[in-house]
Symmetry: C2
């Protein structure tokens, strides 16, 4: 199995992707990784590392797509970027997956244009991992489609269910449609129609509300990319905001240094579920290939876990299962 890794993406390249790739290779016996990015940059970083030279290779890609570049424009003009090169390698069969913690929009655009869609898929979707009190669950779409038609929700539900079952290990995953109320007549006309389409699925639990997310009332939460993107970024902001809320609480109670430290320790342990490093990355479901994107701030651990997730997608033939489910 060969997985290509974007060595020039994210906030901490090349250290994070290269270190993460080395760790992944050390963990999985039959895994090979191709580091994609500017050769000098990669060689420089690899110079002081110990690693298996038979299983970590380099693919030179001199251009870098920055985090804030306009995706469509960047993919068009930077054909020699690590992202376009990596996805191109995947298309050409030179690797089984490509993972990046770089520009999400650019990776999505390159993946959609170059790899194409799986048979029967109307639109690819970004499925994000969301913390709940029962462990992480899936929230989708989080930005690929700002407007989602009813039949797209149905496909998202099918693709998400397979991902949650196969990769996240949740048996009989349930699907909920995020809405303003539980009753089937709630929401916009579009959501009402989506409810009817989703009702065909045996694992659809109906409309769910904002308060149902943290309780994991569903394993797959469906929404349009606008709702999902706002919820995703809001969720990511919770740990830092809580730190500020708690600091203020501590001041209010006039606590000593030892007690303050204790509270900090508890808070850190409590918010483990919010740590994006544990999951590493999220897939673009519906593209004809395995393409995953990680958080810009990905640590080596995050990159390693993203690579392991991509390996699972390959091993478990996720895409074949999606095609079978849709057609």
């Amino acid at each position: 199995m060969v997985i290509a890794v974007d060595a020039a993406g994210g906030d901490h390249y090349p250290e994070s992707p290269i270190q993460g790739a080395i760790e992944a290779v050390n963990e999985v016996a039959d895994l090979k990784v191709v580091l994609v990015g500017p050769e000098d940059l990669i060689n420089n970083e690899l110079a002081d590392q110990e690693y298996d030279r038979q299983r970590i290779m380099i693919q030179h890609a001199p251009e870098i797509i920055e985090m804030n570049e306009s995706p469509a424009q960047a993919v068009k003009t930077k054909q020699k970027s690590s992202i376009v090169t990596g996805v191109g390698m995947h298309k050409a069969g030179k690797c089984d997956a490509f993972v990046s913690s770089g520009n999400t929009g650019a990776l999505l655009a390159a993946s959609t244009f170059l790899l194409g869609k799986l048979k029967g898929v109307s639109r690819p979707v970004i499925a994000a991992i969301y913390p709940t009190v029962k462990g992480v669950r899936l929230l989708m779409d989080v930005g690929a489609n700002l407007e989602v038609r009813p039949e797209m929700y149905l496909q998202f539900a099918q693709m998400g269910s397979i991902y949650v079952r196969e990769i996240m290990g949740i048996d009989d995953p349930s699907v909920g449609l995020l809405n303003v109320g539980e009753e089937e007549e709630k929401g916009t006309d579009n959501l009402k129609e989506a409810f009817q389409k989703l009702n065909e699925l045996p694992n659809f639990v109906g409309n769910v509300e904002g308060r149902d997310i943290f309780n994991a009332r569903a394993d797959v939460f469906l929404c349009d990319g606008l709702v999902g993107n706002i919820l995703l970024k809001f969720g990511e902001s919770i740990p830092e905001a809580l730190e500020i809320f708690v600091k203020r609480g501590i001041q209010q109670l006039d606590m000593g240094a030892e007690e303050t430290q204790l509270v900090g320790k508890v808070l850190k342990a409590s918010l483990n579920e919010f740590n994006p490093d544990r999951v590493g990355g999220v897939p673009f479901l519906g593209v004809d290939g395995v393409s995953m994107v990680g958080h810009g701030s990905s640590t080596p651990q995050a990159i390693k876990n993203m690579i392991l997730n991509a390996a699972k997608c390959i091993e478990y033939n996720i895409n074949e299962k999606i095609v079978a489910s849709l057609n």
Copy 2:
């Protein structure tokens, strides 16, 4: 000043509204309250209370709209409900405001139909209070309009700014449009058009993202009722979910009873901003009257604060200021 209070709304009627009304009257010298609901129920609750009989009156309304009833249907068929009676009294000039912690949809429907809209207002909006690290801010719409046209966002911004400045006491309030990115070309066509309309306002800070809410990057966060309702209910679920997250953290660290108690105390103090009782209720902005709704679980303190907020809306001529700003 006379404020009518729904004595048969919310999860804890008649205790909460009646107790809250008594507290409000004790706090504000020139305030009179009319308790609206089934006479017997109210008299029974008032029997063992000490209160100023000159300033707390009763308006009999035998019917009760339950929390889960379909709003339009309930308003139509229960003409003698506390909600329809209370709003009707306001329309007839028998009180200066009506507040309720009952069925939000029914109160919105009754307010819109009976009171009508302020001059120049296209659609009334529910403006909710949202916790941030800088104190509470305004999130709107949270459910009155699931789809919001660009010119409606502009009106929401103007109405929200006035409410935040006059009632919440934030000078020069800023307005942000919730979107998937900061750049003005982000989002749906509708949001792009809304951005252009909002750009006419001197206090518009542009698009804001999910991560900007807790940081209070704006004082008024604009979104459609679908996004707002999901965010509102999600936000309300945070304290309870955190308790579970923290309990797990405590177990993980194998902490003693004393330490556990300490952490619980800190958490409670830290999440004070999330306590809906502090604010009490939120207004329907744009209706020709003062109509406020509180959380179903409202305590007497919440009802008292909602009454005081309604009093402020009357005193500061919120609606006159809104009409002047729009026309």
